[in-house]
Amino acid sequence: MILAEVIGTVVSPVQIPVLDGRKLLLLKPVSPSGAPAGQARIGIDTIGAGMGDRVLVIQEGNSSRQILQEPQGAVKTVIVGFVDEVEMGGEIVYDHANS
């Protein structure tokens, strides 16, 4: 799983059936402290995330299929949780309440 920030929404009118009706968000991977960490990607929202949220993202097919309950779905990137707090070496490097 990776940490990411929701930076946009993606509108896709024609897509493979497994994605129909699902919300697609543009994600920017971030380091624990919030610095950019990789190429922006598109994730399927399962938790009701919105612009600016710090989220937990799964990037693996089998796990994604379990979460979406789509045994035959070509899905890979799924948003699975909100991040409240990140702690590194006893220090809190991200706190949702103070961001």
């Binding site: 946009g8 929404t9 509108v11 190429q39 922006a40 598109i42 899905v75 890979k76």
Partner: protein
């Protein structure tokens, strides 16, 4: 799953069984600003996309799952058109397919 622009088409008559008739297209991965990001690659198309289209694609093993025949050696597949990308910040860009 990543953003990309379709840049070209590719023809291959000899391919792994199960890939006959599957369109092959060049794609340029894009970053969050719609700028090219990394080298171009070839992807199968699960939708009827064509050069110039803004699309999203899935990489890795899941790429084969999007096709009719799922037991094929494919590591990138275009799975949807992108009509709009909306950003909250100043670099917002919006695109509508023709």
């Amino acid at each position: 799953m990543f953003l990309a622009r379709v840049t070209g088409r590719l023809v291959a008559t000899i391919s792994y069984p199960g890939l006959d008739g599957v369109p092959l297209q060049w794609i340029q991965p894009l970053d969050e600003d719609g700028q090219p990001c990394g080298p171009q690659l070839v992807a199968c198309a699960a939708i009827s996309s064509g050069p110039g289209d803004l699309v999203h694609y899935v990489d890795g093993r899941e790429a084969a799952v999007a096709l009719e025949e799922t037991y094929v050696p494919v590591d990138a597949t275009i799975i949807g058109y992108v009509e709009q990308v909306q950003r909250a910040d100043a670099t917002a860009w919006v695109e509508v397919q023709p």
